[in-house]
Symmetry: C2
Subunit: 154 residues, 2 copies
């Protein structure tokens, strides 16, 4: 069993300070469309980001176990929030991972790793909205295989 904690302190208006259990601190606010402001972390962004980060880290773990040669990885994620009468809630989350692999032969293995990561991610298993995975694979033929991590497009 693992416990993750946070503390939120209201400072003014629709804004406050967040302290997370792992030591991370940030100012947060409501998003601009709900009387908040641009710039700070918002609850809605944090929710979508938690799904994105959890999937990404689970993919990296599974890929390491499967000895997959990943040269780069990034993931965009969109969360669609709408009225689920009578309340507002997230209805759908779409993950768009993009992996740069060492060779064509890695593609089927990478696809299995992505499907597995989506099933095993603890945050993904804790959210109600439907989660959709739309992945893209590319082959890095020019780079040396000892470069472990690089931003795609770098």
């Amino acid at each position: 069993m693992y416990v993750y904690s946070s503390k939120v302190v209201w400072t003014e208006g629709r804004r406050g300070k967040l302290t997370c259990g792992n030591g991370f601190k940030a100012v947060f606010s409501a998003p601009p469309e709900f009387q908040g402001e641009a710039g700070p972390l918002t609850p809605e962004d944090a929710f979508v980001a938690s799904v994105n980060m959890s999937f990404t880290l689970m993919f990296l773990k599974v890929a390491e176990q499967e000895k997959l040669d990943i040269r780069a990885f990034e993931c965009n994620c969109n969360g669609i929030m709408d009225r689920v009468a009578p309340q507002m809630a997230f209805k759908r989350i779409v993950l768009h991972p993009r992996a740069v692999l060492g060779s064509d032969e890695d593609i089927p293995k990478a696809e299995r790793c992505m499907d597995l990561a989506e099933k095993l991610s603890p945050v993904r298993n804790s959210v109600k909205p439907k989660v959709v995975l739309e992945f893209k694979m590319e082959i890095d033929k020019k780079r040396s295989p000892d470069r472990k991590a690089r931003e795609p497009g770098e």
Copy 2:
């Protein structure tokens, strides 16, 4: 309908960079117990924090509509993650809000606002684990009523 987005880029090991739609940026990692490190934002902390921030902002909104005299507000939140066979998932989230109010008469109204905020919070309505609310109210008899926000214990 609202769309919230984030982008995650793997940098090395169990670590990467996060950019959220509202402009917020952070380094993230797995938590130390999952081959990560202390300090950065983690997916698990972000998930729990999103519930905490969403509840807090909804409480502030409802309280404003109800003309509740809140002098200070903070909220601790614990998320319990465990194996929900076969995967790991959050099983329970406990919110511990603490409000400092202008007078004793505000207590019943504040209780209603907290219950309502818990029901209306969009992130709370998007998570699977049971959410428990354990609130505490205090009366601020010494402070002037024009001070709108202050950290409890300040």
